[in-house]
Symmetry: D2
């Protein structure tokens, strides 16, 4: 009963096998391995983006921060949701990589940036000329930190607002696969066709050991990205082991299958929770996370039985009236089993 | 015939197996996995350093840069050899992580810093008070970039000079195992007993897929290291896959055996080269690299036959008199075979 | 009729004379001039702080940013009001000087941070451990950006909340003199006795050409301040010309007299505005700024007659119904005359 | 007998008067004052550069660092002489402003960069691709730190080498006037006509209180310069007092006259020293600095009589044989009198 995070789950077995297969003889280091050539072509094809620059790094924070640093100057600001990973969970990595840019935090229900709020935030930036920071980049997270998804149309509206004011766009796709399979659209529709310039294309939360691709649909800053990646210590010498993971991930739609399993687990989990007396959802369940509240007594039983997950917000105490609902975040991964979901539901019901 | 770099070689098969074994069920992320607990204890035991703080990152540049950032302020300088990896091969990563510190470059034969030159460099720093940068940290590389090794006594002399002036010390041990097995001393003798405060303990060049340990013998900056690691995007969510590599590396002295194989290959290679007419060594061969010169005709034959290695310095042309010697760097890894060495020797003789 | 900013006003004549007097013969540069010795002692005496470290810089942004950089690490955050100068008007200088720290913005009426909001903001920082930025420093502005003042007791409450959680404190006193004369307390009561660690003690807005003192009541980071000042290009070679300004400023309570004049002008101005039909104050008038609204027709007349000030917020248009009030910020300086105030009032009434 | 530095000297009286004149009524802040309009036009005319962007800052370190930050990326390197002010005397300000770029130090006699050494340094940069820092900017100092001057032809050769490899150019002209009057060429000939992109045009060492102009002959990075200046805390609110200094400096060729006086003083000083037994020059005297050695006994007498100057190098002791020469740096300013020079000469002869 592990719902603390999708990054606690295992890697897909096929990925481990691909690593073992890649371990034959010598290979040119630093991304010059032949597997990377295939990965690059595969991603370009998948995203219908023949000119895209494609790179691999090992963590989502690296993918996001280096990408954003290519889009903003130190004296500019990044527009993002108040709960975005780049704001809340990266210990200031975007500020570090960009040389001290700001993040302009936008509030919105269910983890999403409302168009009018984005419009206002961008418009107001720079109103005092040289005295304030300048318009920088937009960063959207899809699936969001609240377990919801932006549709291609929603992405297009937000990117359109940004682009109309000269603001380039980034998508944090740590859970891109989870969003995509829910929406049923194509990778291109959810990204560059909707106005996304750079995508952090997550793999780690969805079955890899530790690989994220960065896709620059506009390849202009490609060389800058390479230099920033190296300078940040994120260029791997034995790069073939990153390439092999990503190749296996994309082969035979493995990535989509893994995401479907995680999403289905979240669906099952949310249905089960809602069946409990006094339970309700905090956010719609659209990807692999469930945000829900249920009576405190159910939390106590689950945690005594060893269930792992976070109270959300974190400062709700287990002490208190039995029937008062407290809320939590539960994240499923591709390997979350029906059995552990059902066991969990039994405890909280 | 691949001598371009030790990072072109494969991982040790046992390491891949350890990764596969680690892929069971869920594990707490970000270094809270039980394998990391064992790794931490093993390294403390191995280095006779029960209080050391131990962390894993995936690249040598990350290990070096984050370590140095914990030892220097932005307005200080790092003393290192002119050819140190941190100066020549990390695209300014130490400057990036430290917030803009300087590197004070020291010349010395065979990749080593002469004590008197270090003494002078440190002494002169800060002579103009607030107008100049201040004394920062010493960084030694062992084995050096010239394929030589510092003995424990040499390390102690250099660290002693630094410590006497309040300068903390770092060792870039990307090839620490290669130095250690050549010297036959203990890990503690080559590090903290000789005055080293932080060690970048390399694994990637010696048979891992991509893991380096950082050992803070003085654990005072441990929390700072953790924050800098996270902020740099180098804290792995599925950390168990780093832990598993390091555990396998240290088990049954695998790391020492791998280094002995690489060193023995370099010895065989250097003996073969020296037997060729007109050949000579540029540096003593003390680890797994061979720096040597031999007639141009031998280079041509080797390269036509597909041998991979770098001219050193890089700007020597293949065009020119047949018998004029040009020099090169040849690096062996744990998997370099006698057969490819002998084939190479046959070509250049 | 210039109310755009207090920094548009002239310097006090006595300050110019002091500069002329300082221009005799040679003087040791970089703060080693004898005038600076006197300034240091004068400030220590004035603030009853015999151990304070005292430095001069030429701009408020430099004073604030270098001070904050001495109090926060790059991975920490600065707590400040959403409308603080350090957030809104310094183009990211605090982020630049600190190496990329965050600013946590706190809302509050009349430019002031509510204690409970500060308590909450600090308490929540670091809740996700290494994943989020850490507790940094508190920065208060007094007089505030809304023209109000914090009393010594209010400062003490806020600094107490900070200190109880290990958070050091900074006061942006660009208009410190204006606050002080309104409150009638001592400089010490409004600063270190209330828990302030570093004060940016403004002079430029109150009659100097361009000098601000930085007073480190806790002198521990004094040397770091000196290095950061130099590294930021803010250490003046011909420092005596800064020293002379500050000496003249403090002599015979000139600084207090100038602030009293500016405050009295703001009082007269606000009384006049309030007498106009349809006028009201946006914030209490407690220093030298007036935030008020009055009918649009009055704005048109004033601006046609050449009055200079800013609409506040900036995006209110002059086009529109005559009698609809729109709001503005009007700032008086020590040289604002009754005549120009009365002329202005006549136009808007 | 003050020869410690030209920045210990007074300001020219006319400059103080100009400041007093500027102190009339209100003025728009931040460079929007009408005096600045005249300064901008005057500098464009003087330099025959109608499109140049012109800004004022208050220190040479600010002028140099902000200029260089506009020319280099964090992962690039600045080529400069080993003894350049930006390397030796700015506490790492260029690294700070640029976000961590390197400085590549070039040795050369008499403070000058030899063309072939520059060619080699640039050519070698980037030889290891993404692993090393990249080609950045050239920074020349004129007059040099050794008191010599580059001729227009010498500047053109060095800038030509840089430009041919895509490297933009900066001139640190803290003592530009001293070089210019020695050479007898036009400001344009010594700068943009010889390939200089940005000039730090010094005033502080030559009679101002604290003002340097930055002239961007190629105005492309003008807005970036403005933002970096603000973000660095170097945009002055009461800017008119900087403008007034620069206007007075340029009026009636005051700046040239002041530099001629300082140079003449250095000439007189060097002639006097050379007449002493056992004396010799360390560098040719071409601007307002004298680098010379003479017997220790003469140093003792001069210093006992209160003469101020620096041993150069700094670590030569006054204790030792009387007749052994030790060397020093002596800097004259516009107000250095014949009487103090002659008094000094009398002591050391």
């Amino acid at each position: 009963m592990f719902f603390a995070s999708d990054n606690g789950g295992p890697a897909a077995p096929g990925v481990i096998e691909a690593i073992a297969r890649a371990n034959e003889g010598v290979a040119m280091p630093y991304g010059a391995d032949p597997i990377m050539d295939r990965v690059r072509e595969k991603i370009r094809e998948l995203f219908e983006a023949p000119d895209a620059a494609v790179y691999l790094v090992a963590t989502g924070t690296a993918a996001n921060s280096i990408s954003l640093a290519c889009l903003v100057q130190p004296w500019q600001t990044v527009y993002c949701h108040r709960h975005a990973h780049i704001e809340a969970d990266e210990c200031g990595a975007p500020e570090f990589y960009s040389g001290g840019s700001k993040l302009t935090l936008i509030d919105g229900a269910d983890g999403k940036i409302p168009p009018e709020a984005l419009q206002k935030a961008i418009f107001e930036t720079g109103a005092v000329g040289v005295h304030g920071v300048q318009k920088g980049a937009l960063s959207l997270t899809n699936a969001t930190e609240a377990g919801t998804v932006y549709s291609p149309q929603e992405v297009a509206i937000l990117c359109g607002i940004a682009k109309a004011q000269g603001v380039p766009t980034h998508m944090d796709g740590a859970r891109f696969a989870n969003a995509l399979v829910r929406l049923g659209c194509s990778p291109a529709e959810l990204t560059w066709k909707a106005g996304v310039d750079i995508l952090s294309f997550g793999g780690t939360k969805n079955g890899l050991l530790g690989v994220e691709a960065v896709i620059l649909f506009n390849p202009d800053p490609a060389w800058e990205f390479e230099l920033r990646r190296k300078r940040g210590g994120h260029l791997f010498s034995k790069h073939r082991f990153l390439s092999a993971q990503m190749e296996a991930y994309l082969a035979d739609d493995l990535w989509l299958g893994l995401a479907r399993r995680a999403n289905a687990a979240a669906d099952r989990l949310s249905r089960g929770i809602l069946a409990a007396s006094g339970a309700s959802l905090t956010h719609p369940v659209e990807a692999n996370s469930v945000f829900a509240g249920w009576p405190r007594i159910g939390h106590r039983k689950a945690q005594e039985a060893g269930a792992k997950y976070y109270h959300w917000p974190f400062d709700q105490a287990l002490d208190g009236p039995d029937d008062e609902p407290i809320s939590a975040r539960l994240v499923c991964n591709w390997a979350t089993s029906d059995a552990e979901i059902d066991a969990f539901i039994a405890l909280i019901s």
